[in-house]
């Protein structure tokens, strides 16, 4: 069955139930709002960065004196190589650079095989029915730090790391979480919900790089398999309600006090299998409740290298 667009579903559902169709976007916040700018670096100097956006436009942004950058490690913005794909957190209507992440990638999947390539390791991951398989490299210098947080380094266990793309190869650098101790198909059942669904659900929000560049939206684990053609959907250790592609969510970053209304645009079948906790501002009360696109994550005040924030979720 073809899938109508998220906007169309929202309009149809609103008409059928007689409710107002809320438009996606950030809600007003006290203080400065964040904007995300994505693209490839055309030129960079200590004070100015020029970006080629996916729309083909050229964006010129001023680099704030306090701005920092990350490309596998902390670097000064002026040292970023031309051609790098960057995600920028910008202030002042998106004209002033606050933070830059260059060639960053999130490597989330199920370990399929591990091969040694000299001192490095090549790992094949299954990233879900929609995302397929990918092969990543764990450099020797990062392996100790990754293995400490991923003790079950064998097929069938979950893997989650943050890395950089270099020459078309994803290289893991930082562990994004502590690896769950169970196999990916043995997700603990959520505690039984004896009463009506809560109007707000608190848990962990992470990000994923499988969205289109600059796309705003979330991947949600509790979708009907028949609606999404995702055989691994509908599994979550947090007791989430069923929603669909196109449903609008009100996502609040509890740590930063920022809120956005975002559509569900993808199946978060792997996110639901992580019962880990985020420790950004206190321990999150539940495991992962959604994955955000990098742009949405940045606009909600998240730090891509931290990998998560404590979120509160409601219907948009």
């Amino acid at each position: 069955m073809p899938y109508l667009s998220a906007d169309r579903r929202r309009a149809l559902a609103a008409a059928a139930l007689g409710r107002a169709a809320q438009e996606p976007g950030p809600l007003p916040v006290e203080g400065e709002s964040f904007h995300s700018v994505s693209g490839a670096i055309l030129d960079v100097s200590p004070h100015l960065i020029v970006i080629d956006t996916p729309d083909g436009d050229e964006e010129r942004l001023v680099i704030a004196p306090w701005a920092t950058a990350w490309r596998g490690e902390a670097v000064t913005p002026a040292d970023l190589p031309v051609g790098s794909n960057v995600i920028i957190r910008a202030l002042r209507a998106g004209r002033v650079v606050d933070r830059i992440w260059a060639d960053i990638t999130r490597i989330t999947g199920v370990i399929q095989s591990i091969d040694a390539e000299g001192k490095d390791h090549s790992v094949e991951l299954y990233c879900g029915p929609h995302r397929g398989r990918r092969t990543i490299v764990i450099p020797y210098r990062a392996s100790g730090r990754l293995r400490v947080r991923h003790p079950q380094f064998e097929p069938g266990y979950l893997f989650d790391a943050i890395g950089v793309r270099e020459n078309g190869v994803a290289q893991a650098r930082l562990p994004a979480t502590s690896q769950p101790p169970y196999r990916w198909r043995a997700v603990p059942t959520p505690p039984p919900g004896y009463s009506g669904t809560q109007s707000r659900i608190s848990g962990t929000a992470t990000w994923s790089d499988t969205f289109d560049c600059g796309e705003q939206g979330v991947a949600y684990p509790m979708l009907e398999r028949s609606d999404t053609a995702c055989d691994d959907a509908g599994v979550s250790c947090t007791g989430l309600p069923y929603l669909s592609l196109g449903s609008m969510l009100n996502v609040r970053n509890v740590c930063a006090g920022r809120t956005s209304v975002l559509p569900i645009v993808a199946c978060g079948c792997l996110a639901g299998r992580f019962c880990d906790r985020c420790l950004e501002c206190g321990t999150s009360p539940r495991g992962r409740i959604l994955e955000l696109s990098p742009s949405s994550f940045v606009e909600l005040g998240g730090d891509l290298t931290a990998g998560c924030f404590n979120a509160r979720l409601g219907m948009g």
Binding site: L4, R9, L12, A21, R185, G193, S195, E224, V235
Partner: protein, 279 residues
């Protein structure tokens, strides 16, 4: 007296074996959620790819023993049942030692409670019950049941009560019935919702407006399932007719709206003309 008590356990054993078979097959066929078998008894002791097979082997083994007891009076089946429950006791003991987090899987997914003394005690009692069958005459179970009198009834009831007292599954089943998950978290078959839609008066009053027989899109949001059909408005313009079916309850609410290509609802009924009122 002892023979009467032992003979009264035959229907209890047959019932238990049949229930175990049905529950295990149901769990494998339904597999409500991926990974369910990794939390259940014998399946968890084998590699992941063999878990379904292991569960089915256990189920059909129980079916074989139940059929053997029912139609044959040969001692082989009685000894096989004793061996089955004795081995089950050992497996549960090992399971409790090696994987204290998993259930016994004796009755499929309902037996997801970690193996405890009661589950162990139950298999011991079943072993003793099946050993008692050796005291009874060597006739088929069918003949034995047909020849039962009221004197066997207390023995049957006592056997059932002992097993019920040793079954944590009963509490689990009662809890599931008593505390159902909220509608938003329960699975519902889209085909059932479609059936409910097509039997509703809202559907019948709008079928004339539809230009497609099958929905062009369908999705679920919380307790509502939406079905979208292509249709025509009263003015003859192409519209999307969207039905919303509430998923819970015997007579669920069904709502409908017609939405134009601009995303705005189209009035489904024309407003009544005003009537002249005489003073």
């Amino acid at each position: 007296m002892l023979t009467t008590i032992a003979a009264g356990q035959l229907p209890v054993l047959l019932l238990l074996l049949a229930a175990g078979t049905v529950a295990k097959v149901w769990t494998v066929v339904r597999e409500a959620e991926p990974g369910m078998l990794s939390r259940l008894g014998p399946a968890v002791l084998v590699p992941e790819r063999w878990r379904k097979h292991m569960m089915l082997v256990c189920a059909f083994g129980e079916l074989f023993l139940a059929c053997g007891l029912l139609v044959s009076g040969r001692p082989f089946f009685r000894w096989a049942v004793i061996a089955f429950f004795a081995v089950s006791t050992y497996v549960l003991w090992e399971l409790r030692r090696r994987r204290p987090d998993v259930g016994c899987g004796c009755f499929g997914e309902v037996s997801a409670v970690p193996v405890g003394r009661r589950s162990l005690g139950r298999t011991m009692v079943l072993t003793a019950m099946s050993a008692g069958l050796l005291l009874t005459p060597e006739i088929s179970g069918w003949e034995a049941i047909a020849g039962m009198t009221w004197t066997h009834l207390p023995s049957v009831i006592a056997g059932l009560l002992v097993l019920a007292a040793l079954s944590p599954e009963i509490e689990e089943a009662v809890a599931r019935l008593r505390y159902r998950a909220p509608c938003e978290q329960r699975r519902f078959d889209p085909a059932t919702a479609l059936g409910r839609l097509r039997s509703s008066t809202v559907w019948r009053s709008h079928t004339g407006r539809l230009t497609s027989t099958e929905p062009v899109d369908s999705w679920r949001e919380l307790c509502w399932r939406f079905f979208v059909y292509s249709g025509q408005s009263h003015m003859g313009e192409p519209v999307d007719v969207v039905f919303a079916v509430y998923l819970s309850g015997r007579h669920p609410a069904v709502r409908v709206a017609m939405v134009g290509s601009d995303g705005r609802p189209v009035e489904t009924t024309s407003l009544p003309e005003s009537l002249p009122v005489s003073a």
